[in-house]
């Protein structure tokens, strides 16, 4: 349980953000300059805000009203930055050991796959290796809360793909709450339990990742091209023709072969612009995924597009269609029809363990 309420006036910018989040990964999302990093700095105690109340799992880190403020070194916050910030005069082992109050480093080293790097110097590591060591170092300090401020932003796509699975394992196995700053919705869709959307220093939306990402009202904050709903599904079968069949609340989904085993729970991000709508069940069409849906929300954008939220079973799906189509098809609340999703449109990076 994470409770954050911070007010701080910068020259020309006021941070005034408050949210509560359950355990798991809380993603702070927003454009550059929205105040995400300042908020994280306040949580870490690196920034001294004008007013704040910050609680992690019942421990008060700061409460300006009560005149209470823990020093940075007493907060037990693991802070991972965009750059690894490893100590250059220590080898990997000594870096990992630095914040450890005691105990074994074995499990963390194993989880992050850095066992072979222990005797190396930081400048002999690749960017991805260094960042994994930095995550390990923060984790080994036995933090109450792990702050990850754009930990992947400085890495290329291959390195990102190398680290993301470790972050998923961290979420599922380490049990440390995480506050994750990112402006990549793809990362958030994979990792977040809770999403906190920020704009101009304020929190504009807090909620479960599935709820926030499938909310048409949040799409302008995310950027319409990045909009896409998250659905959870279970892998039912890997078929011989290279397709994987998933069962979700809205029906079966057919996707290009996934790595996870049968029975695994996955989260799938379906981009709004990859969803087509049809009034009648489409026939003679190459797309494999045709889900019966009911329209729940329709949101007019400023441009030629319309963002539509649909209910497929209990799953929410977002679709982005043109206003012209919306009018021609008579889209309105409780409209019933079909969502059409091309299997190959769902990229591998949009599928992750649930």
């Amino acid at each position: 349980m994470l409770e954050v309420c911070v007010r701080h006036a910068f020259p020309g910018f006021t941070l005034d953000a408050a949210f509560e989040a359950p355990a798991g990964v809380t993603a702070l999302f927003g454009r550059s300059g929205a105040g995400k990093t300042s908020l994280v700095k306040a949580v870490a105690g690196v920034l001294k805000p004008d007013q704040a109340r910050i609680c992690v799992d019942g421990t008060v880190l700061e409460d300006t009203g009560a005149g209470l403020r823990l020093k940075v070194s007493d907060r037990r916050i693991g802070y991972v930055f965009q750059e690894p910030r490893l100590f250059p005069h220590m080898n990997v082992w000594a870096n990992l050991r630095y914040g450890m109050p005691g105990g074994e480093m074995g499990p963390v080293v194993e989880m992050l796959g850095i066992g072979d790097l222990l005797s190396r110097r930081p400048n002999a590591l690749s960017g991805g290796e260094a960042q994994r060591v930095a995550i390990g170092r923060a984790l080994l300090s036995q933090p109450r809360l792990l702050l990850l401020d754009e930990p992947l932003a400085a890495l290329d796509d291959a390195r990102k793909a190398e680290i993301l699975p470790f972050l998923e394992r961290l979420r599922d196995e380490a049990g440390v709450p995480m506050l994750y700053v990112s402006h990549s919705i793809a990362e958030i869709a994979r990792l977040a339990t809770t999403v906190v959307a920020m704009e101009a220093g304020r929190v504009v939306r807090v909620g479960a990742a599935e709820d926030v990402l499938s909310d048409p009202d949040v799409s302008p904050v995310l950027g319409v091209r990045e909009a896409g709903a998250l659905i959870r599904a279970r892998i039912a079968r890997h078929h011989a023709d290279g397709l994987t069949e998933l069962h979700g609340a809205g029906g079966s989904l057919w996707l290009p072969r996934l790595d996870q085993g049968e029975g695994a729970e996955v989260r799938v991000r379906i981009m709004a612009q990859d969803v087509m709508l049809s009034t009648n069940p489409p026939k003679g069409i190459s797309a494999l995924n045709i889900l019966p849906v009911r329209l729940t929300t329709l949101r007019q954008g400023d441009g030629p597009g319309v963002m539509v939220q649909l209910l497929a079973g209990d799953d929410r799906i977002l679709a982005r269609v043109t206003r012209r189509s919306a009018e021609a098809m008579g889209l309105r609340d409780n409209w019933r029809g079909y969502a059409v999703i091309k299997s190959v449109a769902v990229a591998a990076e949009n599928i992750s363990r649930a």
Binding site: A44, V46, R85, F87, N91, R120, R121, N123, A124, S141
Partner: protein, 233 residues
């Protein structure tokens, strides 16, 4: 070497080494502290402190020596107090060390400050988030990372202290065996008709010590830098 150098020359060399070593070792903690304050903090009086530290570099050494005499001489309040505690420095070798330390201080602070400014404060910040107190951050992160600068600063200060003349002779005079360091001895030898040979030998010693100090500092700094930024341990 004592065979090659006459007893008076040897005395001067030994004294100079002692004076320079004491001056360097005692001023080092202050040098690190002042460099840290100048590099890491901005406060009213920053420019003044910086100016004060650098003053001995710019002032005529005789002026520095005279100011020392005014402060630490037996007639001065501070000097009298130290004298009564048995710690008087006027006309003693310890006074020569004080003068040398003061004259060498700007060089030491400069060298340390330069490396301090090259240390990324973000490393200290992350150490804090890992639970390290400010003292532990300084001892385990800052200090090891500025070691090359500390070595360079110390060796430069040592070499400078070996060669200090103006402030020393003004403050503590030129007493054989007590305050007659190598430069003072060279000066004294040059005042007497038969002293040129001795003066030359001391000149050679001075050149060798200065060059040796610079070479050692360069080597040490390179070694440390390689250890700090080096590849696999």
């Amino acid at each position: 070497m004592s065979g090659w150098l006459g007893p008076a020359e040897w005395q001067a060399v030994a004294l100079s080494l002692r004076v320079a070593l004491v001056a360097t070792l005692f001023s080092l903690p202050f040098g690190i502290a002042v460099a840290y304050i100048l590099a890491r903090y901005r406060f009213p009086g920053h420019a003044l402190l910086n100016g004060l530290v650098h003053l001995p570099l710019i002032l005529p050494p005789v002026v520095t020596g005279y100011l020392l005499l005014l402060s630490f001489g037996p007639q001065a309040a501070l000097g009298g107090l130290l004298e009564s505690l048995g710690l008087g420095v006027a006309f003693r070798w310890t006074g020569a060390a004080l003068a040398a330390a003061l004259m060498a201080f700007p060089l030491m602070v400069r060298a340390i400050r330069l490396t301090l400014e090259a240390v990324d404060p973000k490393l200290e910040e992350v150490a804090g988030t890992l639970g390290a107190s400010r003292l532990r951050v300084f001892m385990t992160i800052t200090l090891p990372l500025i070691l090359p600068g500390i070595l360079t600063g110390a060796v430069l200060a040592f070499a400078k202290a070996m060669g200090e003349f103006g402030a020393t002779i003004t403050f503590v005079s030129n007493i054989p065996g007590e305050t007659r360091t190598v430069p003072s001895a060279i000066y004294a030898f040059l005042q007497v008709p038969a002293g040129e040979g001795a003066a030359w030998r001391l000149v050679i010693v001075s050149v060798v010590v200065a060059m040796g100090a610079l070479l050692v500092s360069e080597l040490l700094a390179r070694r440390v830098a390689a250890r700090i930024g080096g590849r696999d341990a």
